[in-house]
């Protein structure tokens, strides 16, 4: 069941008005949402306590410059915030925030996480070069019109978690023709907001449910196709090289990743720095090595560190200057590692992080037993 927010002519504007109201009525002390930058070619996260600023903000931004969870982390990494903040973000940003809360980097006590039905995002580079077509494109995406897959951020075309995350409050608008928005409470906190506004959650959501279900079906099919393609491209040492040999070791992918929060990344640590002489030795013994070294190690290593919390937001691909499909590969691998532990990143269902927990009896086949025939080994005679 949901409450209803009437929409005039502008979907995003209606959400803005709602956020303005909850600020004015002191239901929250501040709102975190995107706002267009002065040059007009990008958006930035603004945390605003003054309700008049909300007028200039944009509830649903066409682009995703900084992952919202990263913005949130900077507010609560030292404990819960001193004021109540509502953060309106894309579902993948909410999911990353939930992962970060499991990692102790985001404290959700004084936060209200709000998400909306996300139609996808426009790739950063194309938006910056032509903001007005980018905005037109996003309007089309919001209205549910077909746009060619190449125009949308690649990770969004195969996103299956575009709606209804474990946010406290969800703005549902798919399938409603732009005439109204459903306010769907996802937690007691979300319910409290609706109660404070005296908005009864009494509306059936079946039309919206159906629209989301249909869209998900389509997205699942396109994700499966994308995974198959990626799995083919990346296959084996040669496949890895085909994909990652362009890497310039800038590590932008890690910097843009909401999950990679470590202050000192293993790959920047002294441990990871190989002695120059041993590099020279490798050049001699192997015949040749590429520099900067360890590019494949960086990418595969990062998969072992963060793939279980990967929310497939695609920021890594957006940040790559060499146009490597980092997100497609990581998303493909993350899907498998998460399935191996029946874990789904970004869910608030009480499942602990797989790398932080274990069961005493599990994975019994992972260490291969030696053949039982002769337990004695081969004695030296």
């Amino acid at each position: 069941m949901a409450a209803v927010l009437p929409v005039g002519s502008d979907l995003s504007g209606a959400m803005n008005r709602f956020l303005k109201t909850i600020l004015e009525k002191d239901i929250v002390d501040a709102v975190l949402m995107p706002m267009k930058v002065p040059s007009g070619d990008s958006f930035a996260w603004i945390i605003m306590s003054d309700s008049s600023i909300v007028d200039d903000a944009e509830a649903m931004a066409p682009v995703m410059p900084v992952q919202g969870a990263r913005a949130l982390r900077s507010l609560t990494r030292k404990g819960e915030g001193s004021i109540r903040v509502l953060a309106l973000m894309r579902p993948c940003e909410i999911r990353a925030a939930i992962e970060l809360s499991k990692l102790g980097q985001v404290k959700t006590e004084n936060l209200i996480l709000a998400a909306y039905d996300c139609p996808g995002a426009v790739p950063m580079d194309s938006f910056v070069s032509d903001p007005s077509s980018g905005e037109d494109l996003f309007r089309k995406m919001l209205a549910g019109e077909d746009v060619s897959a190449g125009e949308v951020k690649p990770s969004c075309t195969s996103c299956v978690e575009f709606s209804m995350t474990d946010a406290d409050l969800h703005f549902g608008h798919f399938g409603l023709g732009g005439t109204e928005v459903l306010l769907i409470p996802g937690s007691p906190k979300g319910m409290e907001i609706l109660e404070a506004l005296e908005l009864p959650a009494d509306r059936e959501t079946s039309i919206w449910d159906e629209a989301v279900r249909k869209r998900r079906e389509k997205q699942v099919a396109s994700r499966d196709a994308a995974f198959e393609e990626t799995g083919e491209n990346i296959r084996g040492v040669q496949g890895m090289l085909n994909v990652f040999a362009d890497c310039i070791s800038c590590r932008n992918c890690r910097a843009a990743c909401p999950i990679c929060y470590c202050r000192l990344c293993h790959f920047e640590s002294e441990t990871a720095k190989q002695d120059p002489n041993s590099r020279l030795d490798s050049a001699v013994t192997r015949g040749g090595i590429s520099l900067p070294a360890d590019r494949m190690l960086f990418h595969t290593g990062r998969m072992t560190h963060m793939s279980l919390s990967c929310v497939s937001c695609g920021q890594c691909s957006d940040a790559c200057p060499a146009d490597i499909p980092v997100a497609q590969v990581f998303s493909f691998v993350a899907d498998r590692t998460q399935k191996a532990f029946e874990y789904s990143a970004g869910r608030n269902d009480g499942d602990p992080l797989p790398l932080r927990s274990f069961m005493k009896s599990e994975l019994s086949g992972i260490h291969e037993m030696v053949s039982d025939a002769e337990p004695g080994g081969h004695a030296h005679e």
């Binding site: 799995g231 990346i234 590429s290 190690l297 072992t304 498998r336 532990f341 992972i366 337990p375």
Partner: protein, 145 residues
Amino acid sequence: MISDKHDDFTPRITSFLCKWCSYTGADLAGTNRLQYPTSIIPIQVMCSSRVDPVFLIKAFLSGSDGVLMGGCHPGDCHYETGNYHTRRRFAILKEIFDSLGLESDRLKLSWISASEGPKFAQVSNEYTEQIRKMGKNPTRKSVFL
């Protein structure tokens, strides 16, 4: 045991052995004069959980034909729960190797206690034989890693 009937390929198997169990097991194999191949290159670690999966990948990408991870039997960890974490990390690493189409059989996890010298020798022999059949690590040939 490395026999001569194959070619002259002697695999290199980088082995991370925990101080309390597997490394002591290897020691016991030595004092018992059990024979195991020279392919095993042991690295002593304080606990198998000290080994970041990145170390195993590093060994693999550096051209090790096999990578062996040895720890205490589940329930017997000197630090009580280290090897349970190792087991999960190892499972994730295997899954990543499989996803990327890399040969995950070049990674091996084995529980060898301090009293299992014969088991250490047996694991070493069998794994060396398995790796010998697989051939050289394909990353040895690439300069782009």
